[in-house]
């Protein structure tokens, strides 16, 4: 594993970002922008699962409209996140506990969103509006908040 991180840092991508005065900051701004989009796309469905927004629309309707923005922002997050991580893959991120926690939260949030939450949101409306749906909404908010908080934590660790 350390060798992989060293290789990433010394790759073309890692060195280009690290040697540029602007690249890291510019990519990070875009990463934050994608965070806002992902935040909206995730929250609107979770708030609907909790019954706190769009009560006259079904969970499936809200989830269907949010879906392209969710997928687009996840792709945007990965495309901007990879060069940020590559720039100091071994000398900073590999030993940064907040970074690893963020990755675990991210994997868990992704898996949860595209398996359980997706099934509940697009499945039986009675189940989506039940306590099961509400629990799914809360778990989703907590998992994605974990990603955001740990992401901010990388800089302070």
């Amino acid at each position: 594993m350390p060798a992989v991180f060293q290789w990433i840092e010394h790759s073309w991508l890692g060195t280009s970002v690290n040697n540029s005065l602007w690249a890291f900051a510019a990519i990070e701004s875009l990463h934050l922008l994608a965070l806002a989009v992902i935040g909206g796309a995730v929250l609107v469905v979770d708030l609907r699962l909790l019954g706190w927004v769009f009560p006259r629309q079904t969970v499936a309707e809200v989830a269907r409209d949010a879906r392209p923005w969710l997928i687009g922002s996840v792709i945007g997050m990965i495309l901007t996140g990879v060069p940020l991580m590559a720039s100091l893959a071994f000398s900073k991120y590999y030993t940064n506990e907040a970074f690893w926690l963020k990755m675990y939260f991210f994997l868990a949030a992704l898996l949860f969103t595209f398996t359980i939450r997706q099934r509940v949101a697009f499945g039986d409306p009675a189940r989506a509006n039940s306590l099961i749906g509400k629990t799914v909404g809360i778990v989703s908010v907590l998992l994605w908040s974990g990603v955001g908080i740990m992401g901010r934590g990388i800089g302070f660790y």
Binding site: S29, V44, G153
Partner: protein, 169 residues
């Protein structure tokens, strides 16, 4: 402008400002709240702007999208303003002299103007286009400007952390 500078200097010397600046925990906590508040505020505002563009939630009336989202957007705005003020108070002179902070403040001002223009403009004739999936040109312009301006506010907000340029004061 000297007045603002003197105000910032006075504010930065208050015990409250010093306490946030010198605490290990307060600044990171406030900043994390500011970042999570961004999801609530800009994330949900974006859905509203996308409805104005006729891109998403097309099957829901514009007035209903507004009525359902505005409590959450407002909550997000309160969180952003309060945490933002606390961040500013922690080091007012540095923020005041930071070029990105100035651009961000100007972007915020333009975004508010855009919202007012929408409110006193095409929103007055909302009954004519409320339930139409496709929205009028003026509504699309307002939505597009809003997305662009808030994107500038978010991005320059992140760049405030960098001291690439000499302070403007």
């Amino acid at each position: 402008m000297a007045f603002f500078l003197h105000f910032c200097q006075w504010l930065g010397n208050t015990p409250f400002s010093t306490a946030i600046r010198e605490s290990i925990w307060w600044y990171p906590i406030i900043e994390s709240v500011h970042v999570l508040g961004l999801c609530l505020f800009v994330g949900l505002l974006l859905l509203w702007d996308l409805r104005l563009l006729g891109v998403t939630l097309r099957g829901v009336a514009v007035s209903e999208v507004w009525a359902r989202l505005i409590p959450w957007i407002s909550l997000g705005a309160v969180i952003m303003v309060m945490s933002g003020i606390l961040l500013f108070v922690s080091d007012p002179v540095r923020f005041y002299g930071n070029v990105f902070f100035r651009i961000k403040a100007f972007g915020l001002f333009l975004a508010l103007l855009n919202a007012l223009a929408f409110h006193f403009g095409i929103e007055r004739r909302l009954v004519d286009w409320d339930t139409a999936p496709e929205t009028p040109r003026a509504a699309k312009l307002a939505g597009g400007f809003s997305i662009a301006l808030w994107a500038i506010v978010v991005m320059t907000g992140r760049l405030v952390a960098y001291n690439w340029f000499a302070p403007l004061v």
